[in-house]
C-alpha cells in the first residue's frame, strides 16, 4: 500500500513514512484545488460533487471546468487535458481566483499542461497517479521522468498516489473509478462530510442501477481511507453560517430554470458549445412544465421557429453562441423590423470563427449590438453572476414583451460551466408571462400604433378577431402595409430607436463599488465582476484610490455614465476580448483597437476610456487585474480630467 517513490522526482515525499501520524491541520480562508485527467476519466464529475458538497457545508464555492475541444483527445496528452478547478472559501467566492494550491492529477501529462500555462502556485501541493513511473512501456516511463524534471523548476510538493493499484482492489476497470477514489482523497484533505458526499453520489447516479452507486461509494471510502493513512496534512476552511436557503448549479442550468420561471414555453436551438448544456437540462425537464425544446435543423431555423412561436403567442427563446449568432443575423434584423419579441441567449466563447469553442471570451459585444445590417436597435444585457443567469431571462422576457423587441443575454463559458451557490429563488406568478390576451381588436386599432413619445405599441396575435394584418420584413407603416415612402421609413426607424431611449429612461445609473470618486474607475461587464471586485479589494487595501462599476445593460447603456466618469481621473475597462497594447509596433492612439466596451464607452461618453484586456481562453485572475491596475494608475501629476 505504500506509495512508490521515484528517483527523478523533485522533493518527493515517501508517504508511507507518515503512516498513522496525525495530520497537520492548516486553517485557511480560502483554497483552490484542481483535478486534471484525460478526457472521460470523470475528473469533472468528481469536482462537481466536491464543489456541491462544499457548498452544502456552507463554504463559498466557485468551480470552473477545464474542457478540451475534442471529445476523446489522445490519452496522456498535454493538449487533451480535461478537468475542473474548485475554489472554496469561508466567505462567498465570486470568481475562480489566481493559482491552484492543490492539484490532483491522473497522469503527469495533464499536470504538465497546467504547469506550463502557469495555473499552479509555486508552492502548490500535487497528488499524482504514480503508475506511469513504472509503466511497462519505456516511452511512458521516459515521459514521466522528463515531466518530473520539468516540474522541478518550481517548488511544488509532489506526492505520488497509487490510484490505479488501490482502485483495482475494488473494481476491474480503474478508469471508471479513479475519480471517486480522488473524491475520497479530497474528502479527507478538506475534511468533508462523507454522508453528504454519499447523498450527492446518489443524486449524480440517480437513474443508474444501485450497483453503480455502491461501487462509487466503495471507491470513495477507499480513497478516504488511503488518504487518512498516508497524508500528513489537512486543510480546514471554516464555513459561513447562513439561514438563507441556497441552491447550487452552473450558469447554464440557472438560465434554463430562469427561463422556465419566466413562463416562456418554447426554446429553439441548434447544438453549439458552450450553450448546448442549457438545452440538455431543458430537454430533461421542460415538457413537464408544458414546454418544448425544438432542436432545429440549423441555427437559422432555430431562431425562425422561436420567432414564429413568439409571433403567435408567448415570447419564445433561442440559445446559441457566437458562430450561431452570426447565422441568425438576418432573422434578428427581421425580429427588430417586425417588432416581434424574442429572447436570445448567447453563451460567448473564444472567436473569431470557430475559435476556442470551450473557452471563455467576451468578444461578441459589438457584434451583438451592431451586427445586424441596417439599423436594428434592440436590447442587450449581461448577467455577471450565476444567480443573475437565473434572474436575467425573467427581466428579459418582460422587456421583450413590453418593448416588442429582441433582448439578447450575453453570458459566457465562464458562467456557463461555473458553479456557485446562491440564494434560492422564490418563483412568482408575476414573473411568468400569461398567454397574451386574445380579446377582439377594437375597430381602428393598428398593428403598429407607435406612441409618438415612446415608440411603444401593442401587438396583436393570431386568434384576435379584427386584428388581421400581415407582419412584414419590408419597411411598413402603422398598418403593417409595405411602404417605400421616405417619410414613413424615417418615422418607423425613429420609433424603433426611441424604444431604447424610453427603456433607458426607466433605468438608474449603475452603482459604484468603492468610493464615488477617485483616481481610477474600472468598468466591466458580464462574468468578470467577481474577479474585478476581488482585485479592487486588494488594491484598496494597499491604499490605492480605485473604484469599479459593472454594467448589466449594454444596449441601451445604463444612464449617467458620463457624469460618473467625470468623478475619476482615469477610466479603464477590464474585459476578456482582444485589444492592442499601446506600445506595440505601429499602434498609435488613433489606430489602437480597444476593448469592445471601451470602444462603446468612448463613443457614447467622449471620455478617453482606456482598457486592459486578455484573451487567454480562461477567466481573468484577480491577481492579474491587480497588476494591470498597478501599471494603469494615472500619474499623480496630471490634474483632474474635466
Amino acid at each position: 500500500m505504500a506509495a512508490l517513490s521515484s528517483a527523478v522526482s523533485p522533493e518527493v515525499r515517501d508517504s508511507s513514512r507518515v503512516k498513522h501520524a496525525p495530520p497537520t491541520v492548516h486553517r485557511l480562508d480560502e483554497h483552490t484545488v484542481e483535478i486534471v485527467s484525460d478526457s472521460g476519466e470523470g475528473a469533472q464529475k468528481c469536482g462537481q460533487i466536491f464543489g456541491t458538497v462544499s457548498a452544502k457545508m456552507g463554504n463559498g464555492v466557485w468551480t470552473v471546468e477545464i474542457i478540451p475541444a475534442e471529445i476523446e483527445p489522445p490519452a496522456r496528452s498535454v493538449a487533451g487535458t480535461s478537468g475542473i478547478r474548485i475554489r472554496i472559501g469561508s466567505g462567498p467566492i465570486t470568481n475562480w481566483g489566481d493559482e491552484t494550491k492543490l492539484a490532483v492529477a491522473f497522469n503527469e501529462q495533464s499536470l504538465l499542461s497546467r504547469h506550463r500555462i502557469g495555473a499552479l502556485a509555486d508552492d502548490a501541493t500535487i497528488l499524482v497517479e504514480n503508475r506511469w513511473a513504472t509503466h511497462d512501456d519505456e516511452a511512458i516511463r521516459d515521459q514521466w521522468a522528463s515531466a518530473m524534471e520539468e516540474l522541478s523548476e518550481r517548488n511544488y510538493t509532489i506526492i505520488e498516489v497509487p490510484m490505479e493499484e488501490e482502485c483495482l482492489t475494488v473494481v476491474e476497470n480503474p478508469r471508471l473509478g479513479k475519480n471517486m477514489f480522488v473524491l475520497g482523497l479530497l474528502a479527507f484533505v478538506y475534511d468533508r462530510d462523507l454522508d453528504r458526499i454519499r447523498e450527492q453520489i446518489a443524486f449524480a447516479f440517480l437513474n443508474k442501477p444501485k450497483k453503480i452507486y455502491e461501487r462509487n461509494v466503495a471507491l470513495l471510502e477507499l480513497g478516504h481511507g488511503w488518504a487518512s493513512e498516508n497524508l500528513d496534512f489537512q486543510y480546514h476552511i471554516p464555513s459561513i453560517e447562513t439561514d438563507q436557503e441556497m441552491v447550487v448549479m452552473n450558469g447554464n442550468q440557472a438560465f434554463a430554470m430562469g427561463a422556465i420561471a419566466s413562463g416562456m414555453e418554447l426554446a429553439a436551438m441548434y447544438p453549439i458549445t458552450p450553450a448546448t448544456s442549457v438545452s440538455h437540462y431543458l430537454c430533461d425537464v421542460f415538457e413537464r412544465f408544458g414546454g418544448i425544446v425544438h432542436q432545429a435543423e440549423d441555427e437559422i431555423a432555430a431562431i425562425g421557429v422561436a420567432i414564429g412561436a413568439s409571433y403567435s403567442g408567448k415570447v419564445a427563446f433561442t440559445i446559441t453562441s457566437g458562430p450561431g449568432m452570426a447565422l441568425k443575423t438576418e432573422f434578428l434584423g427581421m425580429a427588430v423590423m417586425t417588432e416581434i419579441p424574442l429572447v436570445l441567449l448567447n453563451v460567448q466563447r473564444g472567436g473569431p470563427s470557430t475559435g476556442l469553442p470551450t473557452k471563455v471570451e467576451q468578444s461578441d459585444l459589438l457584434a451583438s449590438i451592431f451586427g445586424q445590417p441596417g439599423d436594428a436597435p434592440h436590447v442587450v444585457m449581461a448577467p455577471a453572476t450565476i444567480e443573475e443567469c437565473f434572474h436575467a431571462p425573467i427581466t428579459a422576457r418582460r422587456i421583450a414583451e413590453t418593448f416588442r423587441t429582441v433582448v439578447m443575454i450575453l453570458s459566457d463559458a465562464n458562467l456557463a460551466t461555473g458553479v456557485q451557490p446562491f440564494p434560492k429563488p422564490d418563483p412568482q406568478v408575476s414573473w411568468q408571462a400569461p398567454m397574451p390576451d386574445q380579446a377582439p381588436v377594437p375597430e381602428g386599432a393598428r398593428p403598429y400604433d407607435w406612441d409618438p413619445e415612446t415608440g411603444l405599441s401593442r401587438r396583436f396575435i393570431p386568434g384576435q378577431p379584427g386584428g388581421m394584418h400581415t407582419v412584414t420584413s419590408l419597411a411598413h407603416d402603422e398598418d403593417s402595409h409595405v411602404a417605400y415612402d421616405a417619410e414613413i421609413n424615417q418615422r418607423s426607424s425613429r420609433m424603433r430607436s426611441r424604444k431604447l431611449a424610453a427603456l433607458q429612461h426607466t433605468m438608474s445609473p449603475p452603482p459604484i463599488y468603492g468610493e464615488e470618486s477617485g483616481d481610477l474607475l474600472i468598468v466591466g461587464w458580464g462574468s468578470t465582476k467577481g474577479a474585478i471586485q476581488e482585485a479592487l479589494d486588494r488594491v484598496r487595501a494597499e491604499g490605492l484610490s480605485v473604484s469599479s462599476t459593472h454594467l448589466s445593460f449594454l444596449s441601451p447603456l445604463e444612464p449617467g455614465l458620463g457624469e460618473i466618469f467625470s468623478r475619476f481621473r482615469k477610466v479603464m475597462t477590464v474585459e476578456i476580448n482582444y485589444s492592442d497594447e499601446p506600445d506595440d509596433p505601429y499602434i498609435t492612439e488613433e489606430n489602437r483597437r480597444r476593448g469592445q466596451l471601451a470602444w462603446l464607452l468612448r463613443a457614447t461618453t467622449l471620455v478617453d476610456v482606456d482598457c486592459w484586456t486578455r484573451v487567454l481562453g480562461e477567466p481573468l485572475r484577480p491577481g492579474a487585474i491587480v497588476e494591470a491596475i498597478h501599471t494603469h494608475m494615472p500619474t499623480k501629476k496630471r490634474g483632474k480630467r474635466t
Binding site: 419566466s262 408544458g290 444585457m381 448577467p383 443573475e388 434572474h391 436575467a392 425573467i394 427581466t395 428579459a396 418582460r398 422587456i399 413590453t402 429563488p425 412568482q428 406568478v429 408575476s430 414573473w431 411568468q432 400569461p434 398567454m435 390576451d437 380579446a439 377582439p440 415612446t454 411603444l456 401593442r458 424610453a502 429612461h505 426607466t506 433605468m507 438608474s508 449603475p510 452603482p511 448589466s552 445593460f553 445604463e558
Partner: protein
C-alpha cells in the same frame, strides 16, 4: 382485463382532446388572473406590480415607477365585475384541480346514460360559460348577466361551434344493462369523444343507431382498437364491450360511400339477446338486423371500380351537365380583375 386498466386505456385514447381542453382552461386561468391583477387595486399599486414582473435582475437598475408609466392604461374594475370575475376564475380553477376526474363518469345499474353524460359535459362546460362571463365583463358588459353564463351547468346544446371543437372528452364506465344510447345522438357534435367502457352482459349492437355519415362509431372488445379515436375527425363514440357483442367501425374519413366507411365483423345471432335494463329484446334484435342490413348494403357498393382500387363507381352525369358544371367552375374562379 380489470376495468380500471380499461378505463386507463380509454383515457389514453382521448389524451389529445383531454390535454387540449385542460390546456385551454389553464391558459384562461393565467389570463384571468393576470387581467384581475392588472385591473384591480389602486393605480398606485402599478409600480409594485411592474417591479414584481421585472424580477430581481431589474432591482436597482430599472425604476418600476417609470417602467409602469410606459405600459398600458389601468382600467379599474367595479366591485361587482371583480366579484364575478373572481367567481369565474374559481370555476376554472376548480376544473384544473379536478384534473382527469373531469373526464370520468361512473354509472350504476339503473342510471340513464344520456343524462349522466350530458350532466358531466354540462359540468365541464361551465369552463366555456366562465370564459364567456370574463369576455362579457371585459367588453363592458353587465356583471349580473355575465354571471348567468356559468351559474349552473352549461350543457353542450348551448356551446358554440368553436367550443364544440374543443369539447371535453368523456370516459364512461357503464354496466351493460345501462347501455342505452337513446337520445345520445344530439350530444355527438363538434369534436366530442365519448368512450364507453362496458361491464357485464350488454346489448350486442348498442351503438348502431348512432351511425350517421359524419359520426365515428366504434364497437370493439379489443382495447387497442381505441387508438383509432385519435385519428377520427368530427364527433366520435366508442364502446369497449364483451366479445359476445358485434364488432364494427364506422369511420367518416373512409370516404363518401357507406362501403368505404363501414367495416363490420362477426354479427352475433339475434336469438341470443335477452332483456337488459330498459332495452327490450326486440329493440336489441332490431339494432342487430339494422347492422346486418348496413353490412350487406356496404358490401354491395364496395365493388372495385374501373379507375380506382375500390368504392362506388363514379357517378356518371350526362355529358352536357358535366361540361356545364365544369364551365361554371371555371367562371367562378376567374372573375378577378387581373388588370389592376
Amino acid at each position: 382485463m380489470p376495468s380500471d386498466e380499461m378505463v386507463r386505456q380509454a383515457l389514453e385514447a382521448v389524451s389529445g382532446p383531454r390535454e387540449a381542453f385542460m390546456s385551454a382552461v389553464k391558459v384562461a386561468v393565467d389570463q384571468v388572473e393576470s387581467y384581475l391583477d392588472a385591473n384591480t387595486g389602486p393605480e398606485e399599486a402599478k409600480p409594485e406590480r411592474a417591479a414584481s414582473e421585472l424580477g430581481r435582475f431589474a432591482e436597482g437598475r430599472i425604476d418600476p415607477q417609470r417602467f409602469a408609466a410606459l405600459t398600458g392604461e389601468h382600467e379599474p374594475l367595479d366591485d361587482r365585475s371583480q366579484e364575478v370575475l373572481e367567481e369565474a376564475l374559481e370555476v376554472l380553477r376548480a376544473l384544473v384541480k379536478k384534473g382527469d376526474e373531469n373526464f370520468l363518469v361512473h354509472l350504476e345499474e339503473g342510471d340513464s346514460l344520456v343524462d349522466r353524460v350530458e350532466a358531466a359535459l354540462a359540468a365541464s362546460g361551465r369552463a366555456f360559460g366562465a370564459a364567456e362571463a370574463v369576455e362579457r365583463i371585459r367588453t363592458g358588459g353587465d356583471a349580473q348577466t355575465a354571471r348567468q353564463s356559468f351559474t349552473g351547468g352549461n350543457p353542450p346544446g348551448r356551446w358554440s361551434r368553436a367550443e364544440r371543437r374543443l369539447a371535453p372528452p368523456l370516459v364512461v364506465s357503464v354496466p351493460g344493462s345501462a347501455l342505452d344510447v337513446e337520445g345520445m345522438g344530439r350530444l355527438l357534435e363538434g369534436n366530442i369523444r365519448i368512450v364507453l367502457v362496458v361491464d357485464g352482459p350488454a346489448p350486442p349492437a348498442a351503438l348502431v343507431p348512432l351511425m350517421t355519415p359524419g359520426v365515428f362509431v366504434l364497437q370493439t372488445s379489443d382495447s387497442k382498437e381505441l387508438a383509432r379515436l385519435s385519428d377520427a375527425a368530427g364527433p366520435a363514440i366508442a364502446a369497449l364491450l364483451p366479445d359476445t357483442c358485434a364488432g364494427f367501425v364506422h369511420d367518416p374519413l373512409g370516404g363518401p360511400t357507406l362501403g368505404q366507411r363501414l367495416t363490420v365483423g362477426e354479427i352475433p345471432d339475434a336469438k341470443t339477446v335477452r332483456m337488459l335494463g330498459t332495452m327490450t329484446t326486440w329493440r336489441q334484435a332490431e339494432a342487430l338486423s339494422q347492422l346486418a342490413a348496413l353490412k350487406s348494403a356496404s358490401e354491395a357498393v364496395a365493388l372495385p371500380s374501373a379507375n380506382g382500387k375500390s368504392g362506388e363507381p363514379m357517378e356518371e352525369p350526362a355529358p352536357a351537365d358535366r361540361l356545364a358544371a365544369w364551365l361554371l367552375d371555371q367562371a367562378n374562379l376567374t372573375d378577378v380583375d387581373t388588370a389592376s
